[in-house]
Each structure stands twice: as C-alpha cells, then as structure tokens.
C-alpha cells in the first residue's frame, strides 16, 4: 500500500495536479488572511464579519444567503451553481486559447482583444440578419462561426509580426488588445445596435434575444432553476475535447508543440516554424473569440460598448485558467469552472458582507504568482516524498526539509 502511494506521488501528472492544488490552497489562504486582517482593523466589520468573510471565501458557492436572525445559511444553491457554469463558459474558451499558444511557446496575452472581436462580430451578425426570414438557429451558427473567423484573423496579427518581424508577441498582443478595444467602441458608437428601447440602457448593445437569437438551453435550465446557464458550457467542453485531440493526436498538434519545445530544432526537422506560429495564434484567437460569442449570444447578456478604456477581465483570466491546468485542454475545463466559482464567491461577498468582489481577483493574482514557480513547487513535492531515509541520513534530511519549509514560509 505504502509502495503504491509512493509510486503514485512519483508520477509527473500527479505532481502537476498537486502543484496546482497547492497554488489554489495558498491563494485561498492568502485571500482569507487579507479578509481577516482587514476585518479586524475595520471596526464596522469586526471579528464576526471577518469570520463570515473567510467562510464565504472557502464555501461561498454553497451559501444560500442569510436567515431571519442574520446568520449565514448554507445548502444547494441552484442559481449560484448554474451561473457558475455560465460564467465558466467564456473562461474555459479563453483558457484554451492561452494554453494552445503556450504549447507553441507563445504567451497569448491578447485574449481580451480577441474576445472583444468575437463579441463584436457575433453581436453584429446576430442582430442584423432578420429573424423573420432566417431561422434563428442558423443565425446563431453563422454568428458563432463568423466570430471564430474574426478572432482567428485578429489573433494571427501578433503571430504574423512575431514570425516575420520577430516582435515580442507580448507587446504585439497588448497593442492589438487596445486597438481592438478602440475598434469595437468605434464600430458600435452611434450604430443601430445600441439599445435605444429600454431607458437607462443607452450604453449597452441590444440583447441578442431582441432578434430572437439565443443559445439553446439543452435542459440545463431545468437542472439549475432560475440561473443563466445554457448549452454554451456543453459546447465549450466539446471544443476542449477537440482541442485535446488536435494537440495530442494529430500531426498539426505535434508540429505546434515541436515549435514550442524548440523552434530551431523544429525548423531543422522540416517543420515550417513561421507558419506554425501564425497558425497557433490564429487558433488561439478563434478560441478566445468563440468565448466572447458564447457569452454574448446567450440571449440574456448585455455588452457595454464604450470599452476603449478597459479590457474584458475574462480574457486576462484565461491566463490563470491555462496556468492552473498546466495547459492541458481537459484540465482547462476544471480550472475554468474553478475560476468561475471564485467569481461567484466574489458576488456572494459583495452581496452578503461588507467586503467586495475584488478579493477574488487578489486570490487569482496570488495563484498566478505561485504558478510562475510551479516548477519549484513540483521539485519541492518530489523532494518531500523521497525514499524512506536510512537512519544516519535522517537528521540531514530533516535539516533540508526544515530549510525547505522555511522557504515555503517565505512565499
């Protein structure tokens, strides 16, 4: 039994998952500590409020509000869980986008821009094709596919300048992000898509349900009554599996990964490195913009069009999603749902306590920070699970372990 356990911990996959879990745990603990400290020093919150905040951070997804005497209640919350799955949809797509680029050795920080391009294309098409002449499901599919094409083209730009002009893709992505944000604002500014029917909604684009277009529910709305969940999450999961197959079972995936592992070696082996870099960014762009399309084609979401001063957080959150999943497309499904859970927890914090949703962004930041030295954590795990020490070495090992513990404490 013990032997089995040891070989279990020795596996690379297990180590990676453990490293991610440790990152998550430390992130949550840091968030809880911050909440607790702030609560103690702020007299309007106090120890009781701080304790409530800490509990919501760890289990907010199961919180059902407050009862008559004002204490927190817990249980199955269909709205929360459904909304979590709904929010997870674009996060999974953004995470897939970042992870595909990562596998090719590219850091796709351009997901927000690609997400915006997908949003713009899908909304414009979904709202402009007359639904009395064309069946709405065909409009939906056209809008979705067009969004992916637009995203692919937009994502290919940083890939192109990287491959041909050797410009750092991070800078190129950041520039295309802001260009996209401005383009989207320019496109929607004063256009027919702006909501002029409902009062107080002038800053928003019409919901796609205005034209009768909405993602199919696939019965999920019956499981999670009252929530926004729809078939988008299923589509995202299917796409994740497809990406997994593409990366691991096809020649294309092999070529992309080869370029990521060593661009020069891949070139030497006859792989067209430039073509693959552009292709990888194009695929990444298509995935991220599909996320935007899935979110805004849902029928009940509204897009704030004057976005030239801010980029969508969903795109950036693709980075932690991909990092937590160690760029494994199947893992992205789970880490995407986890991130969505965090954001639901943030809403709970805002609604139920004196805290606000930004603490969950702090937690995400800490998790990304920790995943930067995932390798360090992984080696730390494997040194801890060393073979059973022989007596005389024990003291020495203890000493090194203590040293490592100290290092761990410094984090």
């Amino acid at each position: 039994m013990k032997e089995n356990l040891k070989s279990f911990f020795k596996k690379d996959g297990v180590k990676s998952v453990l490293a991610s879990l440790i990152s998550i745990l430390v992130g949550l603990i840091v968030g809880a500590i911050a909440v607790f400290l702030v609560g103690i020093f702020k007299d309007t919150i106090g120890v009781k409020g701080a304790w409530e905040g800490v509990r919501i951070i760890f289990a907010g997804i199961l919180s059902t509000g407050r009862d008559a005497i004002g204490s927190l209640t817990w249980g199955y919350n269909a709205v929360n869980l459904g909304d979590m799955l709904f929010r997870a949809t674009p996060l999974i797509m953004a995470g897939l986008s970042v992870s595909v680029a990562f596998k090719t050795g590219l850091f796709n920080i351009g997901a927000p821009g690609q997400y915006l391009m997908g949003t713009m294309t899908s909304l414009a098409i979904a709202l402009s094709i007359p639904s009395d002449k064309v069946p709405t499901w065909i409009i939906w599919i056209i809008a979705f596919l067009a969004a992916m094409v637009a995203g692919a083209l937009w994502g290919a730009i940083p890939g192109f300048v990287k491959a041909v002009f050797n410009i750092n893709e991070v800078i190129a992505c950041i520039m295309t992000n802001w260009i996209a944000a401005n383009l989207v604002t320019w496109f929607f500014d004063g256009s027919v898509f702006c909501n002029q029917v409902e009062a107080g909604k002038t800053g928003y684009i019409y919901k796609t349900s205005y034209n009768g277009v909405a993602t199919v529910k696939l019965g999920l709305d019956k499981v999670f009554k009252g929530s926004q969940v729809n078939g988008g999450i299923i589509i995202a999961i299917v796409i994740a599996v497809l990406v997994y197959v593409m990366m691991n079972k096809t020649t294309l995936g092999y070529q992309l990964k080869a370029c990521g592992a060593n661009r020069h070696a891949a070139k030497y082996a006859g792989i067209k490195d430039k073509r693959n870099i552009i292709l990888s960014m194009g695929i990444a762009g298509a995935l991220a913009s599909a996320g935007g399309a899935l979110y805004f084609l849902a029928g009940n979401t509204e897009f704030f069009w004057s976005t030239y001063q801010s980029l969508p957080a969903t795109g950036f959150n693709g980075i932690p999603v991909a990092l937590l999943a160690l760029n494994n497309p199947i893992g992205v499904i789970f880490s995407g749902i986890f991130m969505a859970m965090l954001s639901t927890v943030g809403m709970q914090l805002t609604n139920l306590t004196a805290y606000n949703e930004y603490i969950t962004d702090v937690i995400i930041g800490v998790i990304v920070y920790l995943s930067a030295f995932a390798l360090f954590i992984r080696t730390w795990i494997s040194t801890r699970k060393k073979e059973a020490p022989v007596k005389p070495i024990e003291d020495k090992e203890k000493a090194t372990q203590e040293e490592e513990n100290k290092e761990g404490g410094n984090e």
Binding site: M175, I179, D361, G365, A372
Partner: protein, 343 residues
C-alpha cells in the same frame, strides 16, 4: 502652443520614467512586465499618503498661508513614498524571478493582476467607492505651480518660456526629468551601471569577474520598482487629479513598448516618449487643441472621429516596432533566470 507642450509633457514624463524603470530591470536581465501593476500600486500608495497626511492636518497651515515651498516638499514626500512602496511591491517580482528562477513573464502578469485587485479591494473598503480621492481640495490647488505661486500677478505675461514652463505645471514633472538624466548617467558612466548592464548581457561572465549577479538583478528590479511606483503617482497627480482607482490607462504597457521602441537606450526612449506623449495628448484633447493660438481648432474641424485619435498611439507603436525590429537589440540574457551551474 504652450498648452500643447504642457499637455505633451504631462503624458510624456510618466511614460519616460516608467520606460526607464523597464530599462533598469531588463538591462539587469529581468523582464519587468509588471510595470503597469507597480504603477497602479505606486499611485495608490502615493494618493493614500497624501490623503492620510491631509487628514492629520500636518500641511494644513502651509496650505492656508500659501506656503508653496512646504507644499512642494509634501509632493516630493508623496513621490518618495510611492517610489519606496513600488520598490517593495517589485520585490515580489525579484524574489520570484531571481531567487526562485521562476518564469518572469508569468510573474509579471501575476503582479499586474494582483495590483489593481488589491488596490480596488482596499479602496472599496476604505471609502466605499471605486476611487480614492484627496481628503480635501484638488491636486491643482495644493500642488500646481502657477503664476501667483511665484508672486506674479494673475494676468502677468511671462513670455513664451515662462508661460510654458512656469505656469500651471507640476514640480514633479521636472524632478522626474532630473532623475531621468541622473539615472541614465549612472547606468552608462559608473561602475555600478556597467556591472548592472553586464548582468543582462552575460551573467556568467560577470560572475566570473566577481560580480554578484543576484545582487545586481535585485537592485535592477528594485530601482525599476521605485521609478515605476513614482511614475504611477506622478501620472495620478498630474493626469487624474491625484486619485487612485486601480487603473493607469495602460501606461505601463505603453511604457514597455516605448522602451522596446527606444532600443533599451535612454536617449532614444526620451524621443519615443515624446512621440507617444504627443499622440496621447492629441487623442486626449484634440477638440480643444489650438496649435498656433489663432482660435481655430483645426483638428476638431477636420471632423475625424475621436476614436481614430485614440487608436493612433497603439497602431503607430505596432507599425514603428514592425519597421524598427530589424535593428532592435534586446539585452541578451533578459528573461533567462541566472543559474550558476550553466557557465
């Protein structure tokens, strides 16, 4: 014309000083993608310092008596605080990148996510809204240098030079320019600067000559954090009325682009910052821009959408990078964690 120069300076100086921050980190071998985050954090701590001191009332009398010397001292103190806290924040990057040999790009991204989240979380709890303002008054009233500050009459004409550089300006702008020059000289003409640059080119060779690469990289990142934090506060002071809302409008990233555009060299960076400052300025105030002072706002009359002007800085950055990339020469060892074993 003086309006154009003043506005351009307002945008140019934070860009320049933050780009120099990037130079110090990257020349020592650490990619500092966290400039944006450090700026946000610096802006927050600087504004918080101003707010707290105002609340205690230390400079209250100086303000009432119009003692502008004391108020400028207050401004410099706030800049110092923002810089020091920026350094402290950048230690997180240094620790991950240098001590733990972590991926620097991801580490920087983490700080970029952490800073606005932390700032907004705290600001929301402190003042129950998303923007932390000064406790009383505004930045123009407290810190801006005006004609009256120097004892001139409000309508006095100080000539072109006086009107442009002494009226309605901030001392912070000139301090930043001064620091920029001094640090550029340090980077190029001192032993420390030479050693720092060598660590970004070939750390193994530097180590073989007895230079402590870890120490040099730490100092590079710490100086970088100081400059970025200070730059963040200067941006908040001069462009957003001394308030912090967890956002510096992408200036940190733009500064990174300016740094690459300037080929990691201070003089070129100053030129690049001037160019982007000008475009940013046009984007921000094209409709009230009166270039030759004849009362005709021709940029407005041309009738191009404001969105185009806002797009320009980014499009031009991308284009310029495309055309200059052949000559671009990044520090050779940047982004590669220093490992003693790989000599």
């Amino acid at each position: 014309m003086s309006f154009l120069i003043q506005q351009t300076l307002l945008f140019m100086v934070p860009l320049m000083i933050v780009a120099l921050a990037g130079v110090f980190a990257e020349r020592s071998g650490v990619i500092n993608l966290a400039l944006e985050g450090i700026m946000i954090f610096g802006a927050f701590t600087g504004v918080l310092f101003v707010r707290t001191v105002q609340e205690i009332g230390i400079f209250e009398n100086a303000y009432l008596n119009g003692n502008w010397g004391a108020l400028q001292l207050f401004e410099i103190l706030a800049m110092l605080v923002a810089g020091i806290m920026g350094s402290v924040f950048s230690l997180l990057l240094a620790f991950a990148a240098v001590s733990l040999k972590a991926d620097q790009t991801i580490g920087g991204t983490a700080l970029n996510m952490l800073a606005p989240a932390l700032v907004l979380f705290l600001v929301r709890i402190m003042v129950n809204q998303n923007t932390l303002m000064m406790f009383k008054g505004d930045s123009a009233g407290w810190f801006m240098l005006k004609k009256t500050t120097f004892g001139f009459d409000k309508d006095a004409d100080l000539g072109f030079f006086g009107n442009t550089f002494l009226n309605k300006v901030y001392l912070a702008t000139y301090i930043c320019l001064l620091i920029y020059v001094i640090l550029s000289i340090i980077l190029y003409f001192t032993k420390f600067g030479l050693r720092l640059r060598s660590c970004g080119e070939n750390p193994q060779a530097s180590a073989s000559l007895g230079i402590n690469v870890y120490k040099m990289r730490y100092s590079g990142v710490i100086i970088s954090g100081f400059l970025a934090g200070m730059g963040g506060f200067v941006y908040a002071l001069t462009s957003s009325n001394c308030s912090a809302n967890g956002d510096v409008a992408g200036f940190g990233f733009l500064a990174l682009a300016v740094m690459i555009f300037g080929n990691w060299k201070p003089l070129n960076i100053a030129g690049g910052a001037l160019l982007f400052g000008l475009f940013k300025c046009i984007a921000a105030c094209y409709s009230t821009l009166d270039i030759n002072g004849d009362g005709i706002f021709w940029l407005k009359e041309v009738g191009i959408s404001s969105n185009v002007y806002r797009l320009l800085p980014y499009v031009i950055t991308l284009l310029v990078l495309t055309f200059t990339s052949k000559k671009s020469r990044a520090p050779k060892a940047e982004g590669i964690p220093y490992d003693k074993g790989t000599r």
